[in-house]
């Protein structure tokens, strides 16, 4: 049991004054999977960036193979045998897998790039570490799970002995997670060491040997995975017991509220993203849409929200045909939208919290009279919502772009829910949001549902869908391939086989479940 990587007394304060890492110690044993878990803002990304040379610590030292080492840049880290796969991949879309892997360290024959040798080397690596991928295929044509393999191959091609994976499962379907874990096991068997950053605790418990928990910039403990439970880890992460549980919708007359009939939506390349979709949403229920990224869910939500033209079919809200209405008119009909990208579409980064909150209410005489904004009413309203949604912010006049992801999302959720919507579109409501805020947002969504709203929800996190949804629908290549009532025996594995297109429900079964 030799230690391969050690961090001793790492301390990091960002120029803005955020004390992200306080006297952190971390010891990673060679040939193991070591997980680092913690809430957003706990400092785990900062620690990893320091270990990969992206950030420099203010104090402390890093030891590799027992010897102190200074990692002044990622290049130094790579040279030392440390590789990192970020959540956002750094791949050139039009390049082939082999080209992406060898970029920067290309095999040459004379002046020429040796394509054959590149392809062979990458192929051999892929086979050796159980990371099957078509080396001649452009990466833009590969699913996310395989793109991630390319990133791992990139690190292995540069002879990484320690591989840092930053939230690697966040973008994967359940089956892809299984494959990733198989690859991770094959890596550790062959002596490589994995540092695994995550917040999904069941996965962490499954794959890791040891787990370090961080909270608010400090290392609060390290346990062997065999001795930890989900509950004990959550308590260490948050500092209190967390109840990530939402009651199902109560029984009662749930009338049809939203009717989607024959809906067709095109994607940016002009291809059908959603084909001929029929779906009915009732009042007081949450319908979850499960799909691997890129199977039409983004386009569906954009189209329903009025951000993308509807090519065919109709959408009805409470008897009103809203198919061709503008966003404003749809909102008047009772629609609200928590979009997947809170930064680009959910808010205006340079504007204040108060301005962001009032942006959807400019027709309301409480805030706008005779064409003039009532600054005081707008600020008072914002102060009220900030308190109600416990947004951690300096005040209503702070620019929303300065808030952390979780708090920014709370502002967006607060704005959309304060309109008392009858139909709510929700995409990835807690992506990049920490456990405490996740719990809070889930409760608010459940409240809105119990208040009679129809909620259409999608999330890359299946456990979120399973926790919130009353009914579940699986989209594959723009079509509904399965529908279920969300009961206890609905598992990620069942959903996963439909999400990846391995299975599809028959016409009758589907019709019955959708009725």
């Amino acid at each position: 049991m030799t230690l391969i990587l050690e961090a001793r007394g790492i301390d990091k304060t960002y120029p803005g004054g955020v004390h992200a890492n306080q006297n952190i110690d971390l010891s990673v044993t060679a040939g193991t999977v070591h997980a680092v878990v913690g809430e957003n803002g706990a400092g785990k990304s900062t620690l990893m960036k320091i270990l990969f040379g992206v950030e420099q610590p203010n104090a402390g030292e890093i030891l590799l193979d027992g010897k102190p080492i200074v990692l002044h840049s990622p290049r130094a880290a790579i040279a030392a045998g440390i590789g990192m796969v970020f959540q956002h991949f750094s791949l050139v879309p039009s390049f082939t897998v082999a080209e992406n892997v060898v970029l920067g360290v290309e095999p040459r024959s004379g002046l020429k790039l040796d394509r054959k040798r590149a392809a062979e080397t990458v192929q051999a690596l892929a086979e050796r570490f159980r990371l099957p991928v078509d080396v001649e295929s452009p990466v833009e044509r590969l699913p996310v799970g395989q793109q991630q393999r390319v990133e791992i191959l990139k690190a292995l091609y540069r002879e990484a002995r320690v591989l840092i994976l930053d939230e690697p499962t966040a973008v994967l379907a359940p089956q892809e997670v299984v494959e990733l874990f198989a690859a991770i096991r094959s890596l550790t068997e062959q002596g490589r060491t994995i540092l695994f950053i995550a917040h999904k605790l069941p996965e962490v418990l499954e794959i890791s040997d040891r787990i370090s928990v961080m909270r608010a910039g400090k290392m609060v403990g390290e346990v062997a995975a065999s001795e930890a439970t989900e509950k004990s880890l959550a308590r260490m992460m948050v500092g209190r017991d967390v109840a990530l549980k939402v009651e199902r919708a109560h029984k009662g007359p749930h009338e049809h509220f939203c009717r989607i009939a024959g809906l067709t939506v095109k994607n940016d390349r002009g291809l059908d993203a959603i084909k001929d979709m029929d779906l009915v949403l009732r009042t007081g229920e949450i319908v979850g849409i499960a799909a691997v990224e890129g199977n039409g869910q983004s386009e569906l939500f954009d189209a329903l929200g009025g951000l993308r033209p509807i090519e065919g079919g109709s959408v009805e809200l409470g008897g009103i045909d809203v198919t061709d209405l503008s966003v404003e008119e749809k909102r008047d009909a009772g629609l609200a939208h928590i979009p997947e990208d809170r930064i680009a579409t959910g808010s205006a980064g340079g504007a204040t919290i108060a301005e962001n909150i009032v942006a959807t209410e400019l027709g309301d005489t409480r805030f706008v009279r005779r064409g003039l904004l009532d600054g005081k009413a707008i600020r008072d309203h914002a102060v009220e919502l900030i308190a109600k949604f416990s947004v951690r912010a300096p005040g209503p006049d702070a620019a929303i772009g300065t808030l952390s992801g979780g708090n920014m999302q709370k502002v967006v959720v607060a704005r959309e829910l304060s309109a008392k919507p009858r139909m709510l579109l929700v995409s990835h409501p807690t992506r990049g949001v920490d456990l405490g805020a996740t719990e809070f947002i889930w409760q608010r969504l459940a409240e809105a549902r119990d208040g009679g709203a129809s909620i259409l929800l999608t999330s890359a996190d299946l456990s979120e869908l399973l926790a919130l949804a009353d009914r579940m629908i699986v989209l594959y290549r723009g079509r509904i391939v399965a529908a279920f009532a969300n009961t206890a025996d609905l598992t990620p594995e069942v959903l996963g086989s439909y999400m990846l297109g391995f299975a599809a429900q028959g016409h009758e079964e589907l019709k019955a479940a959708l009725a």
Partner: protein, 307 residues
């Protein structure tokens, strides 16, 4: 009409196209390199113009090849200036490019006036050199095709042949050499290049300098072959047409070269037409290359949208 067709489908007209295409081709290849590495060079026009004047003034006192080299160096230096302001001082690349274009338009007139005492043209004031013609008349005796081939391809500037070779050389660099892979990676997705230990700014600097040198060669060809001597604003929009050629050519060297030939053909037509159709105002005819550029780009982007 028949007269137009006879003109267009003559060997002499092909020779005219090759001649008008050469400066545009160099500028287009320059535009291609900078565009592929992610710093669109809108200063091709100004770079060409300054290179025209530099080449003319230097060649008045030195052999022709020194004049050509001076034009190339002037363009490369302007590329370096662009890189400095855009990459080091973080100025917007379009604004820097237009600054160079504006400086070129005024600066060349001022410099011309200082050097020759004339604000309009160097012709008659300084005796500048011309790039020699490459004589291929030895091909004439080949049966059947000999005379036509000679008429089309003989008597062109050395730089024309260099330009044709550059199309191949740039293609080979971009798609067969490691450097080209890195170049395209930077242009397509800089974070990927950075993660692979490649400095995007370094490659962009190279791209802008190479772009300037190619535009400079185009300028030298224009002022030392197509015309011998400098006239104010003599580039006359060729640098912008070259940008159009890059986009129309789908950012590929061969496509760009084909687009450059297309624009060269319409320029040749606009030179030939006034003799055939004197009733149409010359200004209208000279609009043809620009109208064609705009129309071609519209069609090309429409096809991209529907594809």
């Amino acid at each position: 009409m028949e007269l137009i067709l006879n003109t267009v489908f003559s060997a002499a007209f092909v020779a005219a196209i090759i001649r008008t295409t050469t400066p545009i081709l160099f500028a287009s290849l320059g535009g291609l390199l900078s565009d592929l590495v992610g710093s669109l060079n809108v200063a091709l026009e100004g770079m060409m113009l300054i290179s025209c004047l530099t080449a003319v003034l230097v060649s008045a006192y030195a052999p022709w090849y020194v004049g050509v080299a001076a034009g190339m160096v002037a363009g490369g230096a302007l590329g370096a200036v662009m890189a400095l302001f855009h990459l080091r001082f973080k100025a917007d690349v379009i604004l820097v490019g237009f600054a160079i274009n504006i400086i070129a338009a005024g600066g060349t007139v001022t410099a011309l006036n200082l050097a020759t005492g004339d604000k309009g043209t160097s012709i008659g004031r300084v005796l500048s050199a011309a790039i020699p013609e490459l004589d291929l008349s030895f091909l004439d005796p080949i049966p059947v095709v000999g005379p036509v081939v000679t008429q089309m391809f003989s008597g062109h500037s050395y730089l024309t042949w260099l330009g044709a070779f550059m199309v191949f050389a740039i293609w080979y660099f971009l798609y067969r050499m490691p450097g080209g892979l890195r170049f395209r990676a930077v242009g397509e997705y800089p974070p990927a290049a950075e993660a692979a230990g490649i400095s995007p700014n370094k490659l962009r600097t190279y791209g802008l300098i190479a772009s300037g040198m190619l535009a400079g060669l185009g300028g030298a060809q224009l002022a030392m072959f197509n015309f011998v001597g400098f006239t104010r604003d003599m580039t006359n929009g060729r640098g912008f047409i070259a940008l159009g050629a890059v986009l129309l050519g789908r950012r590929h060297p061969v496509g760009t070269a084909i687009a450059a030939v297309l624009f060269g053909a319409f320029e040749a037509l606009s030179i030939a037409l006034p003799g055939i159709l004197p009733q149409i105002p010359g200004e209208v005819i000279h609009m043809i290359p620009f109208v064609v550029t705009v129309v071609a780009l519209m069609l090309s982007s429409k096809r991209k949208l529907t594809a």
